[in-house]
Symmetry: C2
Subunit: 147 residues, 2 copies
């Protein structure tokens, strides 16, 4: 998709869900976030969270994959940052995650005439349609080459 | 560390750096963020970013590892979210990342007497002391059991 394909008010949904199984939760955690809640059922019992669940950064990374597949930005988008990311409820072993992307605003870029600026809210949902993560982000998307 | 170990104004620095090499950038991208800028030098040339660099979520995940090693929160912390995350400059193949954690505020938790609330700013720096990522976050940290 290009900048010109985006409209404020548009709602896009990922075509598939990604299942986050227990092995994937532990593998990600061992590398990036080895806190007890993310290392297995037993170790999670004594954690502050008290439940075995995915690292928030794991949820964010799986969300990025789903955004990639949903927006499929031509030449790749360029994200400058994230506003108000919230991990609303834990991602449990076996949860199947999807995203909903709601376009909030689109505008031309002052500094880069080859691109446009798109702001969207991304909500990651589990198989019960319950949100597990929410954030708002602004990205640069390329414009179609002038004809 | 426990909640009682944290003081507003405290500045903590990771003891080591983590090197993000090109193979790690591509491996993370293939799984979570397969946009052209993250898949190799050649594919990055035609990307909007124009430079081969790590996915922002990769930088965030490496940052989480450095936070883990620096704070080493007893029983694991519990992060509810992230404010104003900014990817300030690209993380290039071979960059060595460190974090600086600046404690902004500490307060007791109203809802959980076993915990305290800590707000900190986290800056991820490369080997040139240039920031590559910044955010602010509020986490729940366990209190030492009453003696």
């Amino acid at each position: 998709m290009w900048f010109e394909d985006m409209r404020a008010g548009q709602v896009l949904r990922s075509a598939r869900a990604i299942v986050v199984d227990g092995d994937a939760i532990v593998a990600f955690a061992r590398q990036y976030d080895p806190q007890p809640a993310h290392l297995g059922e037993a170790s999670a019992l004594d954690s502050l969270l008290g439940v075995f669940c995915a690292s928030g950064w794991h949820t964010g990374s799986v969300t990025m994959r789903l955004i990639f597949e949903t927006l499929h930005v031509a030449r790749g988008g360029m994200g400058a940052g994230i506003e108000r990311l919230r991990w609303v409820r834990p991602v449990l072993a076996g949860d199947a995650l999807r995203v909903t992307i709601e376009v909030l605003a689109v505008r031309e870029s002052r500094s880069r005439p080859d691109s446009g600026v798109v702001t969207y809210r991304c909500t990651t949902l589990n198989q019960h349609d319950a949100p597990v993560q929410e954030f708002t982000t602004t990205i640069l998307m390329p414009r179609r080459a002038a004809g």
